[in-house]
């Protein structure tokens, strides 16, 4: 037995692995890719175990690490795709017009201005296609909260794009 101050935390992390995998599969439909995120999240959690604040929710801490990894990866993929599109060979049949690029940049800026709670949820719901039920279960928030946050995110976005109020 090697009882260290972190032994309880390590044991809890081990026993949370199935839930982390389920959550990752909600965010990322591909099971292998989801497992890669879980593995990376576990590596980070173990490496930073001393940063965990005793008395706070270990589950939430782990899920946040995983969530941030997935969101960062999606953002990188999205930026790479945009860059590749911009740097790709010119194709007059598919190249967006100047005003389309301007509109796209406007949407990106509006999304970045959203409250992070709304922005991340909107991002996850849009990119992963997860249902309200799946998001609620895996984020441990009521389904009504998912629905209202998404509605708020959409209306804030709409107002910003129409040149309305800023939050």
């Amino acid at each position: 037995m090697t009882d260290t101050p972190n032994s309880h935390l390590m044991a809890e992390i081990v026993e949370l692995i199935p839930r982390l995998r389920r959550y990752a599969r909600v965010l990322v439909r591909d099971a292998d890719r989801a497992d890669e995120f879980v593995q990376e999240a576990l590596v980070r959690a173990v490496a930073r175990i001393d940063q965990f604040q005793p008395g706070t929710d270990l589950r939430a801490w782990l899920f946040t690490i995983l969530h941030n990894l997935v969101v960062s990866s999606f953002r990188r993929d999205k930026h790479r795709a945009l860059l590749a599109e911009r740097q790709g060979p010119p194709n007059n049949a598919t190249m967006p017009r100047q005003e389309d690029w301007a509109a796209l940049r406007q949407v990106e800026t509006a999304i970045q201005r959203l409250d992070p709670r709304y922005r991340d949820l909107l991002f996850l719901a849009t990119i992963t296609g997860a249902s309200y039920e799946e998001l609620a279960r895996e984020l441990s928030i009521p389904i009504g909260t998912v629905r209202s946050r998404l509605n708020r995110a959409r209306s804030h976005l709409k107002r910003q794009l129409e040149g309305g109020a800023h939050d």
Binding site: M1, N6, M10, E12, V14, I17, V38, L42, V46
Partner: protein, 155 residues
Amino acid sequence: MRVLILEHDPLCAFDFIAALEAHGHEVIGPAARVSVGARLLRRRRVDLALIDLRLGLDRGLDLIPHAESAGVRCIAITGSPLEAKAASDRLVGCMPKPVSGEQVAALVNWYEDACAGSNKAPPSTFMSFGASPPQVRAQSRACTMPRRLRSSFGR
């Protein structure tokens, strides 16, 4: 096979799970505490338990009586093979750490095949103790149907 994992290291546990599932096994757990492992043994059907001996909070060997009550055989996956040897009459054997998930999966594949009557040699790093696989088949409720047929009949 339905394999219970008792392991204290999250990265090892994850590695074992991924490899076992890739080889078509079902993982029960993982548990990092004997109490959790014992509860899983009571509630779920398990064919084999892989136990780490030096858990952070408990002694892995303490799971053996619970496994015996459930008719489940145990294999130690441990960095303390001498400790495992001291309990050799109650373990099928021991695979010393460090060990990869693929090696663990190869061990479980061997165990399953041996239970079904194969005479194939175990993985080279595996130390056999106590009961041989045919005896395991006679004493345990596990491994009554070959792996290739199981999906046709349900487990």
